[in-house]
Every structure is written in C-alpha cells, then in structure tokens.
Amino acid sequence: MPLPRQPTELGRFGRAPYIRRRLPADIRRKLPRPPVNLRTREYAPCRLGDHYHSTLADNLMYMNYTHTVESSLPPKPDREIRLRWDPANPYSKYRKNEPVGGKRFAEMATEPNTPANIIRLEAVQMHIMIKEAITSRMHLLGVIAALRALSGETEAGGGALAKGVKGVEIVRGKKQVGGWIRSGVPVGAKVTLKGSAMYDLIACLTEFVLPRLREFHGIPMAAPVSGPNAYLPASSNAVKPSDVTGVVSFGLPPEAMSYWPQIEVNQDAYPRMYGMHLHFITNAVGVGAQERARALVSGFQIPFLRKS
C-alpha cells in the first residue's frame, strides 16, 4: 500500500490518502458521505479579532474595573431581589421557579471583573423585515438573496455550520396585532454571524458603509436615564431590559444597502434596497451592561452620538 506523500511545504497537501473502504453514498446528493461531521474552522488570520485580543481586551478590562478596598470583614451579601425558590417552604413548593424579569431583571448585579470574563463580542445578527411579505411571500426572495450575499452564508455551504450559526433564517410573526401582523406569517429574514465572519462584516460596515452614508454623525443613543442630561427625573427609574442585556442594536436605512461591496457589484440584481437592523450581541449582563457593550463596539470604530 503506498504511503501518503509528505507535503513539500506547510501550505500544501501531499497526495490524498489511499481509500481502503468505499464510503457510503448519499442517495439524494449522489455523493459519498464522509464518515465524520465535517466542520470548517478559522481559515485565515482575523485582523479585527487580533485587534480585540491585543488592544481592546486590555483597555476594556481596565476601563470597567471597579476597585474594592480589601477588608477583614466578610463581604456584604448581594441584596436578595426576590424570594428564592425553596422546596422546604410550603409557599414556594408547588410554585414555578420563574426567572427574574421586568424591573428586577434590570437590577441584577454584575459579576466581578476578572481576566476570564472581559466583555467580548459573541455574535452579530443582521435582520431585515419586509412588510409586503405578509401579502406575498415572493417579496422575501430579494431579502434572502441580499442576506446571503452580505453574510456569505448559504445552505450547508462550507460544511456543517458552527454552533449557534444557522445560515439565513426566515423570521415569522410572533403575535397577532390587528392591521399589522399575524402570528406564524413569514415577515423577514435574519442571519447570525460568529467568529471571523462576524469580524469581516464589521470591517465591511466601518470601512465601506458608514463612511459613505450621508448626514451620518454616529449611532444615536438615547439620553441617559440618570445624571445631568437625564430625560426623565431620577425617581422614575425607567430602566429598560435592553439596558442590561448587553446587546447594541441600531438600524441602517435602505440607502446604506448599496454601499456594501457585496451588493454594490450587482445592485441591479436585487428588486429593491432594504433597510436592516444590526444587533451586536456581547456577553455583558446586569447593571451598566449597555455602557460596557457600547464601549466594546466603539472599539471597532463604530461611532456613537449622544442625543442631548
């Protein structure tokens, strides 16, 4: 049996190994089925990923660090924000252990800042809703094509997808709202990106799209809830759940679609340009998560603008 030839350099293959047993055939695709679940990993160095590890992570750890003075006394326990579920307690024994929600959710304490839990970007999600799709599903085709071109994600392209990445997905209505939407009706599409694909998308956004937008000064942020620029009195305590989930979201107008280089090369192939929502999902949760998430996202050169 001939041995596989050794490659002459690191970047090349040698001869393919000898196949001793025939692979089982996939009847539908008429192709041999590989014996393992093939999944492609990172295939090139990632510029923005390296920027995060060499520069941003250090700065974010330093900026978000809260110094506590060492004391001989035991640390003060966190405030109990509601009754803990206790099977010994006859009141809570047959009740559901509901997750903390609503206003209490916004008061969740943050974990202490350590090198292991520095804020990081987990995923970027692009989401396009098209209202006309309620009456005719044909309108979704352009949306799906645009998201496929933008993200490079196709059905089963490049092997099995990474965990949490599902390619372009159809988004269906959740609730029945009279005159607007019905539950279960497809109204848009979304795509979730992770790893180097996510960083490539951010690079495209900050180098091709945002600089060419007209009248763009930054992503507008709502005025702070408390402090000198507060839009509500401090007593109102209007903390929204979005303030503590560590997700930075903003929208792009339909004009921005033509600035993406993936769309720009053959803009005429799409029925029209679509506006979209971008969600930057970070691992930050709890009090101040929004500020920390914005600090991270602005580190990738996405500017924010405070509405006064």
Partner: protein
C-alpha cells in the same frame, strides 16, 4: 456597676456643665500626642502606548492549519453563481474564471482547475484580455513589506517600528535614568488631570493622545534618596498615541524611545522594572 457609675458621674457634673442626653453622651477620647504621619509625595506617570499596526505573523503550525481549513472550505463550498454576478462573456467573468482555476490548482493539485473544451488561441486571447484589465485597474501593485525601514535602521524614535508589537514611550531623564513620562501632582489637582498635564509638559503638544481611564492602572513606590526624605509614590495612567510624535521638553528630558516590553527591561533599573512589568502587554 458601670451604668450606675456613669449616671452618678453625670449627675455629679451636671451642676458644672450643661446636662447631656443619652444620645449625645460620650466618653472623653484621649488626645494622642503622636506626631502626624508625613504624607508621601504623589507623582503621576503616563504609560503612552502605540497599539500594534500589523497583524501578528502566523506560526508555522497556524499557517498549516489555516491552509488545511481553507482547502476544506473550498472543497465543501457551494458552486459560485456566475450568472448572478457577471454578464455572460464579459472580460470580468473571464478574468474571474482564470483566477478561480489558478486557486483550484493551488488548492488541490495540477489535475484540477483545467480549462475544458477551449482552443489554445482563444485561451491565449482570454489571458491577454484579463491581464490588460488587471493592469488598468492597478492590481499589479506589490504588497508593502512587513518590516519597516526603521526596523533595519534601528531607529528607536520611529512610530512605525515593530508594527506587530505594542510599543511604549520611555524617556531618558537628565540624570541618565530611563523612565516613563512623569510629573508632580499640584495641590488641589485630581490625579487624572495631573496625568494629562504632566504628559503634555514632558512630551509636547504636537500629538493626539487618549488617556484610557480616570483610574490609575498601577502604582510604584520610588526608592528613597535618603533616610530622611519623604516617600514618593507614582501612579500610572495608560494612554494611547493616535497621531503626531513626541517633542520632549529638553529641560527635564535628554532622549526618548518607543520600545517593546522586552526592550524596556534592558533599559530601566531593576526595581522600576518589577514595579511596571505587569502593566505592559506581552503582545
């Protein structure tokens, strides 16, 4: 016994002093006659950083890994939709096809990426047209080298040196000791304001900098010059240089250099090195 005594004591003194209620009564605190502790002198020091401007060079293992994954990805990818992106028979399509065949050959070997059913004359014409198009678009420009001339010239003052590493600004003081930019804290001044002022005072105003946080990133207790001298504590602030260059104040500073962590170790005194080494990045 004690409460009784206390009450009786209060009663006894009530004639001399106005009577105090229980909430405000307090045992007299003995006045200490110790000398007040001498407060240390505070200094602020700025660790001015130039972030990496080049990506790190992949190791041989990383290169082999990326190469393998890229081939795997190419083998598993869906076919490219030529009709969607190119007008049929256009020069752009011809060029892309030629490039794609070349990539196939590089990836999988000589038996891949071969043009089928095309005569030699047509193939040569296609190649010439694609090359002409590439030349028109200026795609023949060469990539910049990853080693800058300042690396070869050992120019420690250049901000372009060691593009893959974090660089830090080090100043040579009049006494001949290398240190980070530093200065005194004025009375009534906050530490972060002092850091900003001291940086401009020693390094000039011809640069854009950003101090990362109002909190110090570390501190260092300077060795005492004499047994009677006051303690001196330096608080470090991290800053980034965004544009411009340092213009050192020649009254206090002889020289400056942009150095990596390893280069700093060989220049600064050992005591100083142990104070700052954990603040600096290994990248």
């Amino acid at each position: 016994m004690s409460s009784k005594t206390l009450v009786s004591l209060c009663r006894k003194n009530s004639s001399a002093t106005p009577r105090r209620t229980l909430a405000t009564v307090s045992p007299s605190i003995p006045v200490s006659h110790q000398k007040p502790k001498i407060k240390p002198t505070l200094l602020t020091s700025i660790i001015l950083n130039r972030s990496p401007i080049l990506t790190p060079t992949p190791t041989p293992f990383e290169r082999a890994y990326y190469s393998y994954q890229a081939r795997l990805r190419r083998a598993l990818s869906n076919p490219f939709p030529y009709d969607f992106y190119f007008k049929q028979g256009s020069i752009l399509e011809t060029r892309f096809t030629l490039e794609e065949r070349r990539r196939e050959r590089i990836s999988f070997g000589r038996q891949f990426g071969i043009a089928d059913d095309l005569d030699a004359e047509k193939a040569a014409a296609n190649k010439a047209a694609a090359e002409q198009l590439a030349e028109q678009e200026g795609e023949r420009d060469e990539l910049m080298p990853r080693v800058h001339p300042s690396d070869e010239a050992r120019d420690y003052k250049s901000l372009d040196r060691k593009g893959r590493r974090n660089l830090y600004l080090l100043l040579e003081a009049k006494e001949g000791v290398w240190r980070f930019p530093q200065g005194d804290v004025k009375k009534g001044e906050l530490l972060h304001q002092s850091a900003q002022r001291d940086l401009l005072a020693e390094c000039g105003e011809r640069m854009d900098t950003w101090i990362v946080s109002r909190n110090p990133v570390g501190h260092y207790k300077l060795p005492k010059k004499s047994s009677t001298a006051k303690d001196e504590i330096a608080f470090f602030y991290k800053a980034h240089i965004l544009a411009g260059q340092v213009q050192p104040n020649l009254e206090t500073v002889k020289d400056f250099a942009w150095l990596t962590k390893q280069e700093i170790e060989s220049r600064v005194p050992q005591h100083y090195w142990f104070g700052v080494k954990d603040i600096l990045s290994d990248h």
